[in-house]
């Protein structure tokens, strides 16, 4: 194995996951501290409400607590698995309640004209969030992974379970849509 391979395969979570599998509460807290904020950010931007995002992240951790004892290091990076579980939880919720996202987007869009003169930061953020919600779920996930969480295309493609080429295609379409919908925010 080359040094680069070893670096790529090094998984800083392996020991913590093994300890969680043996019921170590301190390890569970350490894993939470490491991943909960990122998972919460992703879920919040994928879903319509804070409450839904919290439920989604809680369910993802429940899966982790249940499966940690059977985790096989070396197959996939733990973080990739955890974020994939989180994304799948988001997809499940979006498919169960497809109308909610659209309603929320419509509500926010109605607020936009009121903020036309002086775009307050909160109103702009709502507009961005509304534009995000109009993206198909995989495009939304792709753009959040790369432009909101700062992951590179390879990591994001692994989490989404697609090829890097497919990832780039998702990204290109998402960026174009966002640029069209938010073009009035030329100097955000």
């Amino acid at each position: 194995m080359t040094g680069l391979d070893a670096t790529l395969k090094f998984d800083p979570d392996t020991d913590l996951v093994a300890r969680v599998g043996r019921g170590d509460r301190a390890a569970a807290q350490a894993l939470m501290a490491r991943h909960l904020p990122g998972m919460m950010r992703l879920a919040r931007r994928m879903l319509a409400s804070q409450a839904e995002a919290e439920d989604c992240v809680q369910d993802a951790f429940l899966k982790l607590w249940t499966h940690a004892g059977r985790w096989k290091p070396g197959r996939a990076k733990f973080e990739t698995w955890l974020y994939r579980v989180t994304l799948n939880q988001c997809y499940d919720r979006l498919r169960k309640k497809p109308a909610l996202g659209l309603e929320a987007a419509a509500e926010v869009a109605d607020l936009a004209p009121a903020a036309d003169a002086v775009l307050e930061a909160a109103a702009v953020a709502d507009e961005v969030q509304a534009a995000l919600r109009t993206l198909p779920e995989r495009q939304r996930a792709a753009v959040l992974m790369c432009h909101y969480q700062g992951r590179n295309n390879i990591e994001a493609a692994e989490i989404l379970g697609v090829s890097v080429e497919a990832m780039e295609s998702l990204l290109a379409r998402a960026r174009r849509t966002l640029r069209t919908k938010l073009s009035h925010l030329r100097n955000p």
Partner: protein, 116 residues
């Protein structure tokens, strides 16, 4: 074309940078840890198993079970092989040699009557 794509990427970075940070409520952390406690309680191993894990971790921290187990098995195998393969005559020889040393260490027997 590439320049256009770069502009779109920069624009996306900028607009997503406008989104506020998402808070992680303490209540959510408490709920997640409560789930952990519930599942850990369901699967709690017996006192003996936990004691074994502690002993194993003190012996060889963080290693999978097969490592200390294989080292112990190897040591046992070497011991058994030594016991079986070393000829018994060698052992006997070393024992008689010990006896000679022991005899040499015994106090000398002096027959006073014979000398007179």
């Amino acid at each position: 074309m590439t320049e256009d794509r770069n502009q779109e990427a920069r624009f996306t970075d900028e607009v997503l940078g406008l989104l506020p940070t998402t808070p992680v409520p303490g209540a959510l952390e408490a709920r997640i840890l409560a789930d952990f406690d519930r599942i850990a309680a369901q699967r709690a191993p017996s006192v003996l198993v936990r004691a074994f894990w502690r002993w194993r971790d003190s012996l060889w921290p963080g290693a999978p079970l097969w490592k200390p187990a294989s080292v112990l098995a190897l040591s046992l195998a070497i011991g058994v092989m030594a016991g079986v393969l070393i000829p018994a005559s060698d052992l006997a020889a070393s024992t008689s040699s010990d006896q000679q040393y022991a005899a040499a260490d015994d106090p000398p027997v002096v027959n006073m009557a014979g000398d007179l």
